[in-house]
């Protein structure tokens, strides 16, 4: 007997979105009031979903399987995180005059993400990914009527995304062609065979590598990062707040499922690939950010570097590494959501760095809190960003991968320069004009930012230690129980 309770979080946005589609309909007045009420409805629904997710969370620490779906601790925790952030996003957009479709699209994107985090087969995962991606392409383009660059950005995102999806499907077809199965469990069982013929290993590694390409695109990693700066610059702050947070969490959780599941036996090779990608992203994200004059392009490069940390953690197939990646990406998502929410107080459109000059005079709160977000991204103690970076370093150093750690250290120093530059413009410089920075009015962005700032500042006392322990446990449960022996701790730097 299948239980519907664990499925309910995924079902609810679907039901809600469909209902909205039919009852509110396409011809409806695109007024602020309609949007507001829809967003409010969605918010209520999400609160119910979060309750359900919390309940299934309590019940499902032992996995509960549906065809192609699995509901375990990880999926429940991810559902909770995603729905919570989605609720925050709806709060954030309540005051905006958005078309009705925006709410529908983000709900469908949420549905896609919820399927991604619970997917137990490549096909289900791909469906979730596509549902999320297509909704997001349109979501970015929605603003295009007033703002042509948004169309360009959406198109870029769409074309590159379609290419990445195509490569991913190709990879899946390799895997299916080799083994004839798509379920994670089946694949793992077939791949753990110690006497794998070399051709099978080759096709499997190739297929898995191509599947990873789709992830690298979603997580905006070098060399699949090109869309990120354009989208970040062209889309409104509110859209970027969404793009920078939820999809990253969903993609990371799905990636953890794959790397700790079916791809685990291939990890020696895939791990090297991921480390190379991580190092490139860390370096390029830091170096290319140096010359940016647009604040949001700068943040896009910062994202690339940050995601480099996530992939660096994922490249070590241990509970420590996977757990570090999960906590890292959640903290990053909260930071990003809070940062862009706060930025909306200044402007929903793109800003050059100089537009921020003297912000501290107009609104000290905004300036200092933005500084907290930036310092946390930069990994300064005692903000949350430091502890997540620390856990990544620990996990990677425990497996003696030194090169990528040095790339990360170098990247941190270089990236620190541009984070400091933003802080300098906001806090040290005088305003470019007499009236200073003009502040917009977004009632909801301030309370959201308060929550995010508090989260970053007290992370080391309250949720941090627990989250880290728990994420390691979740990741440890996923990893194959008969794990091949991890290299014993030998003194690093010793010559073999």
């Amino acid at each position: 007997m299948l239980s519907f309770l664990p499925l309910s979080p995924a079902l609810s946005p679907m039901i809600l979105a469909t209902a909205l589609l039919f009852f509110v309909g396409y011809g409806a007045v695109r007024s602020r009031a309609t949007y507001g009420s829809v967003a409010f409805l969605a918010l209520l629904a999400l609160v119910i979903v979060m309750d359900a997710a919390g309940l299934s969370f309590a019940m499902n620490l032992s996995p509960d399987r549906w065809p192609s779906l699995v509901f375990d601790g990880l999926s429940s925790a991810a559902t909770l995180a995603l729905c919570g952030m989605m609720a925050a996003f709806f709060v954030l957009t309540l005051g905006l005059a958005w078309p009705l479709e925006a709410a529908l699209l983000v709900l469908f994107a949420l549905l896609g993400m919820l399927l991604m985090v619970s997917a137990d087969s490549l096909m289900m995962f791909y469906m979730g990914l596509e549902m999320q991606s297509l909704a997001l392409y349109v979501f970015i383009a929605l603003q295009g009527r007033q703002d042509p660059p948004a169309i360009e950005a959406a198109l870029k995102y769409f074309i590159l995304g379609a290419l990445a999806s195509g490569l991913m499907l190709l990879g899946m077809s390799f895997l299916y062609g080799q083994w004839g199965v798509l379920g994670y469990g089946d694949l793992l069982a077939l791949l753990t065979n110690p006497e794998l013929p070399p051709s099978a290993l080759l096709w499997s590694t190739l297929g898995a590598g191509l599947v990873l390409v789709g992830f690298l695109f979603k997580l905006s990693l070098v060399p699949f990062h090109m869309w990120t700066p354009d989208v970040y610059q062209a889309a409104p702050s509110s859209v970027v707040a969404f793009l920078g947070s939820l999809p990253k969490v969903a993609a990371t959780v799905a990636l953890v499922r794959l790397l700790a599941g079916p791809f685990y036996p291939l990890m020696p090779d895939l791990g090297d690939l991921l480390r190379v990608v991580a190092a490139l992203s860390l370096l390029w994200g830091a170096l290319a950010g140096l010359r940016q004059s647009s604040l949001r392009r700068l943040m896009a490069y910062s994202t690339i570097a940050q995601m480099g940390f996530v992939v660096m953690a994922l490249s070590v197939p241990t509970a420590e590494g996977m757990g570090a990646a999960l906590v890292y990406v959640v903290v990053y998502a909260v930071t990003s959501l809070g940062f862009f929410a706060l930025l909306m107080r200044v402007s929903d459109a793109d800003l050059s760095l100089n537009d921020m000059a003297g912000l501290v005079k107009t609104s000290p709160v905004t300036a200092y809190w933005l500084a907290v977000f930036l310092l946390s991204l930069a990994g300064m103690p005692f903000f949350a960003g430091f502890f997540t970076k620390l856990s990544v370093f620990q996990a990677v150093l425990a497996q003696q991968h030194y090169a990528v750690v040095f790339a990360a250290a170098f990247s941190s120093v270089v990236a620190m320069y541009y984070y400091l530059r933003v802080i300098k413009v906001m806090i040290f410089d005088d305003a470019a004009t007499d009236h200073g920075v003009v502040m917009g009015n977004h009632g909801a962005s301030l309370p959201l930012a308060v929550v995010a700032v508090l989260f970053l500042c007290v992370f080391f006392i309250a949720p941090g230690p627990q989250m880290t322990t728990f994420a390691q446990k979740l990741a440890g449960d996923l990893l194959p129980q008969t794990a091949p022996p991890t290299p014993a701790m030998k003194p690093p730097f010793e010559k073999e």
Binding site: V405, F406, A409, M416, K424, F428, M489, P491, E494
Partner: protein
Amino acid sequence: MGILSMMTYLPLLGVLGIVLSGSDSRARLDENVKVLALFVSLIVLALAVYVGLHFDVSGDNAANFQFIEQVTWFPSLGLTYHMGVDGIALCFVLLSALLVPLCILASWNSIKHRVREYMAAFLILETFMIGMFCALDLVLFYIFFEGVLIPMFLIIGIWGGYRRIYATFKLFLYTFLGSILMLVGLIVLYKTTGSSSIPDLMKGAPALLSPSLQGWLWWGFFAAFAVKIPMVPFHTWLPDAHVEAPTAGSVILAGVLLKMGGYGFLRFSLPMLPQATLEYAHVVYALSLVAVIYTSLIAFVQTDIKKVVAYSSVAHMGYVTAGLFALTVPAAQGAIFQMLSHGLVSAALFLCIGVLYDRLKTRDMDQFGGVTQVMPRFAVVFMLFILAGVGLPGTSGFVGEFLVLIGTYIVQPWVALALGTGLVLGAVYSLWLYRRVMQGPMTRDAVKALSDLSRREQVIFAPLIILVLWMGIFPTPVLSVLEPAVKQVLSPYASNPSLAAPDLSAPHHALDAPQPISPQINDHNEEKGPQ
């Protein structure tokens, strides 16, 4: 919550008070904030003195860390919240707690805009400084070590001089580069030994680390501490930061932040990595000698008064690093004593420069001359600290330099000899500075209109004068607090045959025994009476 944590986090409570404070009049609000900040920092000082008085100096516990607090924290990352002080840390905690109220007093009238933020930044700085000297967990240490940068970045960047942006970025990025390499080193240290407790690692780490790993770690730590202390050639951030920082910022920078580097060497490099330390000590010697001689020469050609003192700081830190890596008890004691003394003396010198700058808004030597005639009280104070910086017997500067020279002479006579030339050079540029600024004919009208020290300024200088003289005339209490801790730090070297020290376990015999030193210096030795 233990007393160390109370001392560490009390300033944060003060920051909360500052953030929440409000008043209808701006001037009254600023006044209230200043009083609150001063009050909080004085309580911290009182707590530090309490810790000092209850510290077990002579009992069985003397060499151990005391006032221990240990709580589990981040179990999955292997972190514990672990605080405690030994004799070395205690001295630095006292120094930090003393300088912060003086800084707040010194900024009373000179900081006119964003007073609330200024006071908040200083209190946050105090939290990080005291926390760093008390931290006994690797990562906790790193957190405080690194956290100091944030308030310092703001202090120089907001209230600094004309090139403040350049200076503050340089300070931040230099230090950050060094400390992130240290972080990698700390994690490798933790992952290899399985312990993140500094006291345990001080005892157990040398046995667990292979020589090659020790070498790598040593350079990782060196990157952080050599930049912080700073050693030539990593010192270039310091003159810029000093020149651009507001007076109180320079005081903290010279008084405490530089000492973090020396403290780091004492906590990590010396006790945990003995083989690497012996292997690379000559590098430190060489860099220290270059620092002492080269920066003394550079100081001599500066026209900005602050730059002279900034370069002299680098030179003094050259003594410290040479003393630390001589690996003998008197030299290490001397190096620590020198750090403490320099903390007081350079802080006082920067305050003196602040006094002049507040009045004339310039630090160019040529704009002064003959100040003695209009500011006699100030002239005496300035003279005293200039001489203390030179190392005049009877001031604290002498004791430190003398012990360093003795301790270094035991193992490396040539190094001691070269260090001695630095003493002469120091006297040259210091006295030259004093002559050009304070003496000579009084030609400028601006100088004629100068007023002598105000009551507030006298209050600031009084404790510094007393301490500098006390530490110079009767250093025994400080040395006896330091001695057990220093012996503990140097215990891995006690039986090392490569150190030609006659008897390292009895340093004062080394002092009392006839040494190839001129009898005149021995007289001073008796005068200050180390035992």
